[in-house]
Symmetry: C2
Subunit: 230 residues, 2 copies
DNA sequence: GCCTTCCTTCGGCCGGCGCCGAAGCGTCCC
DNA sequence: GGGACGCTTCGGCGCCGGCCGAAGGAAGGC
């Protein structure tokens, strides 16, 4: 009766559910209660929303004791939501109302995670440095070159499993309006940078910060200057 | 207040508006009245929906006399809608209720346009044949090879302008579940096939048919067998 | 066992939104 | 000019769906 497109879109069309999904873009699993408090609704309300999102295939759930953990179902879902957000945000230039908000936004614009890979200025700079060094081909979509694969595995120490997930994928950055590296390679890279302590999460949100070690490492590895990381 | 993601998604969350967008995926401009009749709503209702979609940036309008022509705003919008549809359709296996519906669906699955490029089995076969012949690279997203560009320009007779639109792009086919060629190259190819009379539109919808000339041409050009076109 | 914590289910309320028909306006045709 | 046609605006109606609080499991700590 009502087209699948509409049924799917209606999942994201509610403010509270959309807020949940945006929060979950940090790639972590949240409990139902955390989401409820975050969005400012009653636990009962959140519970019903989560049930809908799970049934719609957007979220995956996992019960641990009395907690209901929930996360985005697949990387693909995260990418889809990011992609829609790019379009959605394009038409709404929202000025910052508070200093606190402006500071938080600035941190997000500087460096953040986009589900499981890097985004913001940092993500774009890293991506472009990789392209400049011939590690990434940029002709019509991204490609990982042979040198790029070797670089990731030996220099970065990432392991690129042979899963069904696309190796590289271009994800349009909603602050920079330019693509950054996503896909399995983007995720592996981000994971290693975290593992080496080169980037650390700021507070509870998606924003991250480059550590002094990270600044040195990224300079040696990709030639990124301090200005690229500011 | 309510997140941009939700405001955007709500545009597609209504059955009638979603029906409009799906219809417009044929790449043509429809009048407000045509859309109203197609979706089975009053003209007044359609008018209001169209106004919302235009304001939301999904549709572009053009007034000609007493007609209000409307089409998807950009190729990017079409791709976004297609992409969401892939995900939306995944969770809804809808059996055909009528013979007429089944025949129409079969024609759509065989060959159709996806906004301005080819889709369905035909679109996927063409894409894969191009890849097999080294015209298209498939490593992590599509790339047009040098031979591919030359082939398009001299063999097919397509002109690839230097616009801002990506040259090639992979568009996930919602019937085949495999990618087909989109982007500027996909559009140019599709346009030439129409221009040569190799494919013609069936009825008023998105489905197309390969003509006898087209069968010969596609065999010579890409080695496609009659089985590929069935 | 008892209490706390986390989650879910159930009613009930309320606002928003999609629908229509009537009326009005602009365009085109004769 | 007159009439047909396409579209839009406006009121009014009805329903869907998001919200909450209360009540009831289920898990965990003591």
């Amino acid at each position: 009766m009502t087209p699948p497109l509409a049924r799917f879109a209606s999942l994201l069309a509610d403010g509270t559910r959309a807020t949940f999904c945006m929060a979950l873009l940090d790639g972590r699993a949240w409990t139902a209660g955390e989401l409820a408090r975050y969005a400012g609704v009653a636990a009962s309300t959140a519970s019903e929303h989560i049930t809908l999102l799970v049934a719609g295939g957007l979220l995956a759930e996992e019960h641990q004791g009395r907690h209901r953990y929930v996360r985005l179902a697949t990387p693909r879902v995260a990418e889809l939501i990011e992609e829609i957000s790019v379009y959605a945000d394009a038409g709404s230039p929202v000025p910052h109302k508070s200093l606190r908000g402006a500071v938080a936004s600035e941190a997000m614009a500087r460096a953040r995670t986009c589900y499981d890979h890097l985004a913001g200025r940092l993500g774009v700079r890293v991506t472009e440095a990789m392209a400049a060094r011939g590690l990434l081909g940029t002709e019509g979509g991204f490609t990982l070159t042979g040198r790029g694969r070797e670089w990731l595995e030996s220099e970065v120490g990432a392991t690129l499993g042979g899963g069904r997930r696309p190796l590289v994928r271009a994800c349009l950055d909603w602050t920079e309006r330019r693509p950054h590296l996503a896909g399995a390679a983007g995720a592996a890279l981000c994971q290693r940078l975290h593992g080496r302590g080169w980037v650390v999460r700021i507070g509870t949100q998606r924003a991250v910060r480059v550590t002094p070690d990270g600044a040195t490492g990224l300079r040696d590895l990709l030639g990124l200057s301090p200005a690229d990381l500011a």
